[in-house]
Amino acid sequence: MKNTFAKISPFQVDPEKIMDTFGIRDDDFTAASSQEKESMVEMHKSISFWQDAWRRFRANTVSMVALFVFLLCLVFAFIGPKLIPYTYADQYRSAQKLGPFEYSKSEALVRSVQKSADGFYATALRPGSLTAIAKGDYFVRAGGQTYAFTMAKAAEKSVLLLKAGDPEPLRLVAEKDIENGTYTKYTAMEVSDTPAQGATELKLTRRVFPHVFGTDSQGRDIMARTMYGARVSIIIGIMAALIVLVIGSLYGAISGLCGGVVDFIMMRIVELIYSVPEVLIVLLLQVVLKDPLQMWFQNHSATSAFVRAMSDLGAGIVSIFITFAVLYWVTMARIIRGQVLQLKKQEYVTAATALGASNARIIRKHLLPNCIGPLVITTCLQIPSAIFLESFLSFLGLGVSAPMASLGSLCSDALETISLYPYRLVFPAIVLTIIVLTLNLVGDGLRDALDPRLKK
């Protein structure tokens, strides 16, 4: 290899210029050590599949927001009921047909008392005001003791007594006690913000909680019911998705792994179920299963905890699970079978087979971990579709049975009075829509993050 300066470069660079532009040093033309060479190569930090997927998911703003909103929905459904003083089944008779943020008369009274301070002063007591205070589960603190106005239905007619000269100044008694003559003398209460002469300070330990979504015709708090309904709907969705996950992935994995005749037969079954109009069958199953299930509950709930749990859920929900187990796993099975067939061709599975690994081991150790992406995506997207189906059935009056509520049944209940009280439909409908929407978006985000085909 002989080169002369005369021949250097068609792009016209003379040697002096090269010396200048490139800043040639003395030792530049000696061999570089391997350390020097290695230091040149900046290696990318290698990250695991899940780290990579999480990084991509995080980069997806829409999915992250959706995930956050869904978590809020979970808080709403699971922690919310603990934060508000109402439950889904309690009927507050004085608080019927309230609009959002409306108060019943009694609640309004307590609220007006509470407005300026958490304590107020009572010098005398009137039966009317007592009834009012007694209605909403409030506590009054006076004389170092706490007096509860319970929610019991009997309490509605109870009276708060302030007996002159009584060592206990404040007492809650039922109206019948007064009629019976147990208490004959009582003083009416004057409530004020400023202490009058000889007034006792009363402190309410709980504030009036607004009926954020209003109440229904039976005086039930719609927010409490919506929370409860959302919880039922989410649980049903997740359970149904898990059922689909287990059955579908096992079926698909077995079909794909066995291949041959087994695969052929199993796939024909899948095709058959696939072409059955499923919702019709679901409706049929709902009708058919109701009585046998109820009989089964009656006969076995004493002996088996499982049956008791099922019977708590009710025949409607259990038959939803059964229909999912019978009809809805086919998509999952197809996806997993496809994955398995693709993975089966991979060398490491062949290697495992050559080493004498059993089929069960291959499924567990090699195939399922590799199918995890599609499994997660399909399961995640199955949840909203299960919620959809449940709400659809409940809307038709076939899903959950009273006093249980799901978002679908709440919507269905609201439909009867829709022209007068549209908000009764709007709130559960919005919650239902948000849950389905966010789950869809999270599912889409997961697909983008986990699907290697979109990897660039």
């Binding site: 058959l272 069958i281 709902q286």
Partner: protein, 313 residues
């Protein structure tokens, strides 16, 4: 092509038969007699069962039932309209036609609106139009049909009074609007989303690059090369759409008080009028299976590759 259609028809008939058998068995699995009411005596029940042939062994009953169905005898209503042949209830009281009309309009709307919207979103991907369409369609597939139906009812009938509250027998055009919109909205949005994805998928295919390298115009790339390919998944989806529209009609017809087959089916299910449930299930299943068949054939027309596989078989 001919053999393929024949094969699919035979398959469809088999599935329908299977559904009939399953429906029959399910109905027979319900404990107690359908005639069992509080007032009826054992003699009355026995008489009634003898009248309807319910005292015979199960397989004979099954055979009779299939035979009768093949002859077009769908049984007699036991509760809803006692003594009336189910066939008359379904086909002669305008229910069937009403539901079919409603469903077809909804299907048409979903296809005619969904496909162009999806194309637009794909073509202008990243633009504000794409963004708006994405938000609308994403919300659209998250709103259950019954919620939308009820909301539309409140807004346009109760508050604005633009359209009648009860759509009734859909005698005028106006009364069609809300049921059709609520029935088709989910599928319109779904098809638009599907179309967008599959269009984007098609745009990234090698053959689009080839066409670009040939110098084909952008409009040609989209309308000729990408559209037909991206229609394939949409066409496949039309089968489930039909099934879904039938299902949706249960809710929509109930909400808008349309006396169609969907509303009627729900009423039967509620009142447990078994012969009617069975007959309606079979008729609706037949409808869905027929739609699937049509879709499969349409699929062949859009995608020429399938023809070869049938030739090879």
């Amino acid at each position: 092509m001919g053999t393929y259609i024949l094969k699919r028809i035979v398959g469809s008939v088999l599935i329908l038969l299977l559904i009939m058998v399953v429906t029959f068995l399910l109905m027979n699995a319900i404990p107690g007699s359908p005639f069992l009411t509080e007032k009826s005596t054992p003699e009355q029940i026995a008489m009634a069962e003898a009248k309807y042939g319910l005292d015979k062994p199960l397989h004979i009953q099954l055979l009779n039932y299939i035979k009768n169905y093949l002859k077009g005898d769908l049984g007699t209503s036991l509760k809803m309209q006692e003594g009336t042949p189910v066939k008359n209830i379904i086909f002669h009281q305008g229910k069937f036609v009403l539901s079919i009309k409603l469903g077809l309009f909804a299907l048409l709307l979903a296809v005619c609106l969904g496909i162009p919207l999806g194309c637009l979103a794909a073509y202008y991907r990243g633009s504000w139009l794409d963004g708006v369409l994405r938000v609308v369609t994403t919300i659209g597939v998250a709103i259950p049909t019954f919620v939308l139906a009820a909301l539309l009812l409140v807004v346009f009938s109760v508050k604005l009074k633009w359209v009648p509250t009860l759509s009734g027998s859909l005698t005028d055009t106006k009364s069609y609007i809300l049921p059709v919109i609520s029935l088709s909205s989910y599928y319109t949005c779904y098809i638009a989303k599907l179309m967008r994805t599959s269009m984007l998928d098609a745009i990234n295919q090698d053959y689009i690059r080839t066409a670009r390298a040939k110098g084909v115009k952008t409009s040609g790339l989209i309308l000729k090369h990408a559209l037909r390919n991206s229609l394939i998944p949409v066409v496949t989806y039309l089968g489930p759409v039909t099934a879904g529209i039938i299902t949706g009609s249960f809710v929509v017809e109930s909400t808008f008080s349309v006396p169609g087959l969907g509303k009627y089916f729900v009423q039967c299910v509620m009142s447990r009028d078994y012969p009617v449930i069975m007959a309606t299930t079979v008729v609706l299943s037949a409808l869905v299976i027929f739609a699937m068949l049509v879709v499969d054939i349409a699929y062949k027309i859009v995608d020429p590759r399938i023809t070869l596989t049938t030739k090879e078989e």
